[in-house]
Symmetry: C2
Subunit: 342 residues, 2 copies
């Protein structure tokens, strides 16, 4: 089997907001020779995923942007046509970052073998691939649903959301999904076993969501951002977990769905895998108070920890001292001495 | 020793933005009898803490608001004057939620004994009390500083921030603090051993902060919010940890420091101890990919997990399919079939 040329789709221009087809261009080019330890692949299945939208912009995300006139990035299930690598044989199937093309010459790194006995090969791009693993990792390792929890996910009929809901059910949680249109909502209820499904196009979406979550939300799997986040926020329970794996509503700079600073914050949380965790000290007190006392008291005793107090005499001075503290006029821990130690 | 009356400070009215002294009122009242298992306390030290600002508003935070004409809440070190509780003797010192008053009759619950041999009793309200433990819990249990990390904290000369910086140093991290004015900044550098100190009043505060954190920020201990958060955000490294324990800049509704949605988001993160954690699936792949494949593949095999694919034929259809996906027109995992499986 001889292949001389290949087809690829390149990024023709960067989108201004919503991308259009004019941002892409189909090209034909000559295939390079397969280098030592390299492979020639015939692409069978190319995966399209929301993260690619980010690669079309010049701004930095997880990974560098696609350069203008370069091939769009992407994962594929491909067949090995020619192998100069000892680990791969002609006819084998592999997962490979081929980009948007029909054939690719690649070096032998960054591949996974696809076992046809495990599943249909294309499933390795979806439920058994990156989207499925995204659902699994976000829900099970960060969200950690417990029996009786309410788990909410948007884009719930998609490859990530549909697995999130099902894994939540397997963990004994209630699954509430948001999707676009009655057909997708029926799919969630009838085929995936979601406990509730809400159409995000409904004008009263937020009210419907609240009604579907009478005990609040314990895990919100964030993959949308924008108006969904605003509807979810007031429903979150204390200690709710919010794995953030995507913000598709914000990818094309839709400023109507989220204002600038919140969008920027969420974007940072996402692209830097930030952990933002509210807390109140007494959450930890039962377990950690004794060690805290010992360590800090020793540190003070050994001169390694210093502290300062701003002592105000007289209960009647408390309001003034309090206001001063709010304005930063205190210096050290503000304490009102109401009476003397005897 | 006989005490008939006590003094207390009550909430006279709710503040509209910045509170004023008119929001408080000093009152004298008759002490009730000490009930069985109760205690009569003489307050020695009353702690004033930023969280109290939240209790002055009607809106719900961690805890209920103080009612109008009711005593302001607060913690105190107090001496037991009269005890009808078997565990406490006259003359002992206790930590107690007395509120803003000089004497209090309380039941025998919610107390900690104060050991005068451990420290000065007042320290149990500061570095060895709730603020100190807040610093310890947030930094060590959530922030988890590693040697070489850069730890940033604002209000760094206060009771929480000053311990955050010192504990960070003890953990081998660099400590960068923000405080108000040159005197506090000198204190951070000369007495607490911070590596850098920045005056938040400086017009170029954000630039100074960036210069003081040449390797970015690994742990930002959030207790301020507002403009500090905006300066910190671009400096956060991937996997940075942001324990959020306070947002004092937002407590009085200063809309100039943070726009509405971000403020609301941060407030929710805080008051509900939310975990917000950005992630990318491949962070977890080395450790968890095999189990994921097994569990999900079994689930599919047993009919417990379903999935759907939206297969588009032909590489040339990829752009259109991609745009459709961004608009939600797909139904299931979008996959472009570029060539047929053999």
């Amino acid at each position: 089997m001889t292949v001389d040329t290949f087809k690829q789709i390149v990024l023709a221009s960067r989108p201004d907001g919503q991308p259009t087809v004019d941002n892409f261009r189909l090209e034909q080019a000559k295939l390079p020779d397969t280098p030592p330890n390299g492979l020639l692949l015939r692409v069978l299945y190319l995966s399209l995923d929301p993260y690619m939208r980010g690669r079309m912009d010049a701004r930095k995300s997880y990974a560098p942007a696609v350069e203008i006139d370069h091939k769009m990035v992407g994962e594929a299930v491909a067949e090995v046509i020619e192998s100069r690598h000892p680990d791969y044989r002609e006819g084998e199937l592999v997962l490979a970052p081929t980009g948007w093309c029909d054939h690719a010459v690649i070096d032998g790194t960054g591949l996974r073998k696809v076992d046809p006995a495990l599943s249909a090969p294309s499933a390795r791009l979806g439920v058994l691939g990156m989207p499925g693993f995204t659902a699994y990792a976000g829900l099970m390792l960060i969200g950690k649903p417990k029996p009786g929890d309410t788990v909410m996910v948007a884009a719930a009929s998609g490859p990530v959301g549909s697995l999130v809901g099902q894994l939540a059910r397997l963990a004994g949680a209630r699954a509430v999904g948001i999707a676009g249109g009655s057909e997708k909502c029926r799919y969630l209820l009838d085929e995936l076993g979601f406990d509730a499904a809400i159409d995000h196009r409904a004008p009263d979406m937020a009210e419907q969501l609240a009604a579907a979550c009478p005990d609040g939300i314990d895990v919100y799997f964030e993959n949308v951002g924008g108006k969904i986040w605003q509807a979810v926020l007031p429903l979150l329970n204390r200690f709710a977990r919010v794995p953030v794996c995507g913000l598709i509503a914000q990818y094309s700079g839709d400023r109507n769905n989220a204002d600038g600073q919140l969008a920027a914050t969420m974007r940072q949380i996402l692209t830097k895998s930030l952990l933002v965790r509210g807390f109140i000290n007494y959450e930890f007190a039962d377990e950690h108070y004794p060690e805290f006392l010992r360590i800090v008291a020793d540190g003070i005793g050994e001169g390694k920890i210093r502290h300062k107090e701003d002592i105000v005499d007289g209960l009647e001075k408390a309001p003034e001292a309090f206001l001063g503290m709010l304005e930063g006029r205190n210096f050290g821990k503000v304490i009102v001495r109401v009476a003397s130690e005897l």
